[in-house]
Every structure is written in structure tokens, then in C-alpha cells.
Point group: C2
Chain length 354, copies 2
């Protein structure tokens, strides 16, 4: 029995992606060679890298708009320092909406002045600050579009002349946005795009070249852009599996199609959280994430019974992060609506049996 996998990341990918990736480990492109034993300079793998980059730009609607898509290593955590290394000459503005924003902000401080334009730490990050000012002389403004741990998501991005840098690790490719408003978008693959081990960085070419410090080659966006993500050996398997996932999304109808499904999943789970007297949502309603629904049991509800019921139903990975407690249902692109319906049925069964 296949599980209903609500893991926060690494997380569920489409079944056809698992099958194709598994097959490629045995015999890739009928070469009688494994995907992971061929040269990354071979034409078969170069085609994979080129296709993955092209699909990323196409799906985001950024083709022909001066952007490059890179597949790098090190996760969003590496981007926390690379963005600052490459962009921060004098001052940067950061919006603090949770654990990952805070970490990004901490790394940036090694490179220059950092202004925290707003923070929702006062309420354990259960909302997205609004109405803050971004200093017009900032080199860039950094934000985190979706906060996996707290279950909040930025619905409206600020209007600013300052270049915007966004960590979209946990909601990229999940909803339509005007992605051309951003100068840099980065995302660890292991939510909506692929397995852990590669990071998509989408860069507007004109954002670079404005800092005076020397940048080590591996941290220099320019180097990776010039070498088309092949400055050194890329993480072959993670890039290939990301390409498969992006292909799956394109065949499904792209971001506009998946956004509708994500909307349905979110309505299904939040509807039940709001209806069922045994549950209470963690995040403020207007800022609720469509990727990660965070919720707690109400006072006196029987946690042991609920835990037993969801485990019996084949549900995996809904324990909340220790910073929030309770539960977290992560519903990334590859999660079928059916799995959310199974969870809701369990919540209703829990109500009946309580």
C-alpha cells in the first residue's frame, strides 16, 4: 500500500517520476549505462541539464526576459550566503517571517548592514507582516515566500524599486505569480521540484556585477551562469529527477493547472480545521499557506487516539515542527487531493470517536 505522504520535505514526488528515475539508474536513454555512471559532459546529460533549465524558465513565464536558470548545490542555506556575497555592498533589507528568513538574515550580516524591515516573531511567526517600509537605498530586499514550519505564505509581495530576492523553496511552481518582479528566485529542489541535492537559482542577469569584493568561484553566480551550471560536476541524479518533475508539471498544464488543484487541497483541509471543534489552525487565516497547513488539537482532545487513527489510515509525516507543535499537513504539488480527503476523513472519524 502506497502511503499518504504529508512529509514537509523531502516530500512526495509524482509516481511516474519515481518510476522513470528508478529505471534511469539501471539503464539511461537505452545507453546500456546507468544515468549515474556517464560523464556529465556527455551529450545525453547535457541535454538533461539544458531541458531542466529551459523548463524552469518556461513554467515561470521567464523565457526571453533576461533570466538564467541554474541548478546548483548546497540547498537554500547556501543561497543565504551566496545572495549576500554577490549582492550586498552596503545595505540589504530582510523581511523576517520565520526560521528560514532568520537564518538568511544571519548569514547576510557577515557581508554588510542588514535592516530587518519587519518581523512576525512577536507571535511565533503565525502571520505575515504588512505595511512595512523598504529603504530605497537597499541593495536588495529579501523575503521567504512560504514558511513551511509555521504554515504562512506571502499573498501580496511589496511594490518596491529595490531588487527583490525571494527564497521560494517551499512553494515555487505551486501558484501563478508575476515572477518577473524578482531579480533572484531560489529554491531547494526537495519540495515541489525534485529530490534533495540541487537548488534552482533563477537570476536576472543585470543584478550582478555591483559588489567590489572578490568572490570565490563556486560562490560566484557569474561563474555558474557563464558555465551554464556546469562549472563543476553537477548533482546528476537530482537534476535529472527535477527535469522529470518539471516535465510532469508541464504535461499537467503548468502552474495555472496545479494552482487549481492546490487551491482545492487547501480548501479541503482548512475547511475541516475550521469546522471540526477538535482542531484549531495555527496561522492567521489571511496568511495561510497552501503548501503547509499547521494545526493543533483543541484543549482536552485525545492526541493518542488521533495519532492512532492517522497511522492506521496510512498517513505519514504530519507531526508538526517542534517550534509549533501539533500537526502539519504538507500538500506539495505531487500530493493528490485524495490524500487530503483521507486525512479529512480521519479528522471526522476522530470527532465521532472522541
Amino acid at each position: 500500500m502506497k502511503k499518504h505522504n504529508f512529509s514537509a520535505g523531502p516530500c512526495i514526488l509524482p509516481q511516474e517520476v519515481f518510476e522513470k528515475a528508478s529505471q534511469a539508474i539501471l539503464n539511461f536513454n537505452n545507453l546500456d549505462l546507468s544515468l549515474i555512471e556517464i560523464s556529465h559532459r556527455s551529450k545525453d546529460f547535457v541535454a538533461v541539464m539544458e531541458k531542466a533549465q529551459a523548463l524552469a524558465l518556461e513554467l515561470l513565464g521567464l523565457e526571453g526576459k533576461g533570466y538564467k536558470a541554474l541548478f546548483l548545490q548546497g540547498g537554500a542555506s547556501m543561497q543565504f550566503l551566496m545572495t549576500a556575497y554577490n549582492l550586498l555592498e552596503n545595505k540589504a533589507a530582510y523581511l523576517n517571517t520565520g526560521t528560514w528568513s532568520s537564518k538568511a538574515l544571519k548569514e547576510a550580516k557577515l557581508f554588510g548592514e542588514v535592516v530587518e524591515v519587519a518581523s512576525s516573531k512577536d507571535q511565533n511567526f503565525n502571520y505575515i507582516p504588512k505595511g512595512y517600509q523598504i529603504p530605497s537605498d537597499a541593495d536588495y530586499f529579501h523575503c521567504t515566500s512560504n514558511n513551511t514550519i509555521f504554515g504562512t505564505q506571502i499573498k501580496d509581495f511589496p511594490a518596491t524599486e529595490v531588487p527583490m530576492v525571494c527564497d521560494m523553496s517551499s512553494d515555487i511552481f505551486s501558484r501563478e505569480l508575476d515572477f518577473s518582479k524578482f531579480s533572484i528566485i531560489y529554491a531547494g529542489a526537495q519540495k515541489n521540484m525534485g529530490p534533495a541535492g540541487t537548488t534552482l537559482v533563477v537570476l536576472k542577469e543585470d543584478i550582478l556585477g555591483k559588489v567590489t569584493r572578490s568572490i570565490p568561484s563556486m560562490l560566484d553566480y557569474k561563474v555558474h551562469m557563464d558555465k551554464e551550471s556546469m562549472f563543476n560536476t553537477p548533482p546528476v541524479f537530482a537534476v535529472y529527477t527535477s527535469m522529470l518533475t518539471l516535465e510532469w508539471l508541464k504535461n499537467l498544464g503548468g502552474i495555472s493547472a496545479i494552482e487549481k488543484i492546490n487551491q482545492q487541497k487547501a480548501e479541503t483541509i482548512y475547511g475541516e480545521i475550521d469546522r471540526n471543534p477538535l482542531f484549531t489552525g495555527f496561522a492567521q487565516k489571511e496568511d495561510r499557506s497552501h503548501m503547509n497547513a499547521t494545526f493543533n488539537l483543541t484543549e482536552g482532545a485525545n492526541a493518542a487516539l488521533f495519532n492512532e487513527l492517522w497511522k492506521e489510515a496510512g498517513i505519514n509525516g504530519i507531526n508538526g515542527h517542534r517550534s509549533v507543535g501539533g500537526y502539519r499537513a504538507s500538500m506539495y504539488n505531487a500530493m493528490p487531493l485524495e490524500s487530503v480527503q483521507v486525512l479529512v476523513a480521519v479528522m471526522q472519524e476522530f470527532e465521532r470517536k472522541s
Copy 2:
């Protein structure tokens, strides 16, 4: 037909590793979940990481000797800058034996004074310099144990009081050495250890804490040591597949067992290069690599015929690097002796038909 894959890296891995890795993508540990969709904090994956780290230390004979094994991202190229970031306060000594040494040296220069103690660039890196002096006040001495492009390998490491840092990307786990002579050993996985996407870093704990600069978290060895390679999401698939490869090596009898096979493979190919009048070796004999045999055709030999013959025999990946030309037969741990014998048979057929 399975190919005879002489690719320089990414390269051949044991067939049983391909099979187990492929299966884990579909269903890992009978969890009814894919390896790549589970949390990296789950007990099943934590066990993989712990086992991979323990196997690395065990195979190198470094258990209980004050070392930690880390699985990081970014390849050896990231280590070029991380070693300098973490260790270079005043001056470092580098031995230049080829392309990768040169790149390591270039990155280190951003962080302090770099002394090139010797270089074999004068003869296109076809030998390993000897008899050089390492300044006793250097923070560390850096060398590259095996040079994939040129086919040379350090047989005797210098006796020095200066801490030794070695890039063993292309010959780690291939031969017995006193690994405790090194303070840091690093190696991109994609030759003898696994697929591209992770890098083994073996560190002696007392080497750290000697520089005054602030180090970004992702570049700080101390951070990764304290978090047991789990500061952020590790490259799950690459670590798992590396673990499988290290298990395979242990079951085979460890480094001493594979060294004998590697010795046989090297004698087989170099014996033919030296015997066959149509071929000439590139590297000086005493410095020949047991991992990568580089050779050219002698004047007037028919390259088109040779290329036709090895392709017909199912041989893959023996074109030489553009810096050297000719051919390169990479014979990493997982390459069976039989494949080398097939190549030698082709070289002999070429002689008969020429």
C-alpha cells in the same frame, strides 16, 4: 549488453549498487515510500547517514583517531575554498600537479599568502615533483593525490610537520595509505565512492579553530561537524548510494583487497601500452596513476581504426581530456579486470590490423 565503462567520472559503480539504488527509489526499506520522499530526519535516513560516515572512517582505518567524516555538497571545487576559508590565516603551501591543484591554489589566494612549493606545469603535468621544501610556518600543505586528467599519482607523500590537506577525489579507497598523516582528506563522490552530488570530507578535529575570520555557516566545517552532516538537508540519494558503495567495498575485503585488483588492472593496461609499438604512455613511469592510464597513439598510427575497434567492443569513455589528447582509461574500484582485458585485446587487435 552492459558496456565497458572507462569514464573518468562520474563513472562505473558496482552493479549491485545500481540495483539497490534503483529499488530504493521505488520502495525504501519496505516503508512503502521512496528513499527520496522521506524526511532526512527520519530514523531510516539518519541510519543511512550514520552508517556512511562510520564506513568511511572504518575503511580508512581512522576510527577512534579523532576524525569525523562529513558528507557535504559542492564537490571538490567547494572544498578548494572551504579548506582555505577554515584554515588559511597567514600562509599556505600548495603542490601543483595539474588542473585541479591549480584551481585549488587559485581559490586559496583569496584568503591569504599561497606558496607554490613545486609544479610540474613545465612538462604539461606528466610527472609528480619531488624533493620540494614545505615552509615550516605554513598553516597547511595542500596536494592532489591523483591527477585524473594527466594520469599521475603521488606515491610518496612528503614528511612534514605542517598539517596535510589532500584532495583524494579520484583515488580515495583505492590503495592503502597511512590516512592518519592527513588533517583533512576530501573527495567528490563520483569516482570511487558514489554518484555525483556529495563530497566526503574527513577532518581531524584539532585542525579547526585557528583562523580569526568569520565563516558563513554553510562553509564552516565546525558547523557541519557539530550537526553530523545534517546542518541542512543533505543530498539524500547521493549519500545513500555512497553508503551502498562503501558497503560493497567492505564486503569485498576493504582497501587492501581492492588495491590488489587495482594493481592487476594497472599492470594489465600499462604492460600493453609499453609492449605495443602503436601506443605510448603520457605520464612518467614512476608516477603513473593506477586509476587513470593516459596514452597516445604513436606517430602514424591509424586513430580512425582504433576508435572503430574499441567502439565495436562496447567500450565507453576512453577519449583523453583535451589538455592531453589521445586516450584515458579510467579504472576506478568498480571497474572489473575483465573490462581492462577487453581493452587490451582491442589494442592487440589494432596492432594486428594496422
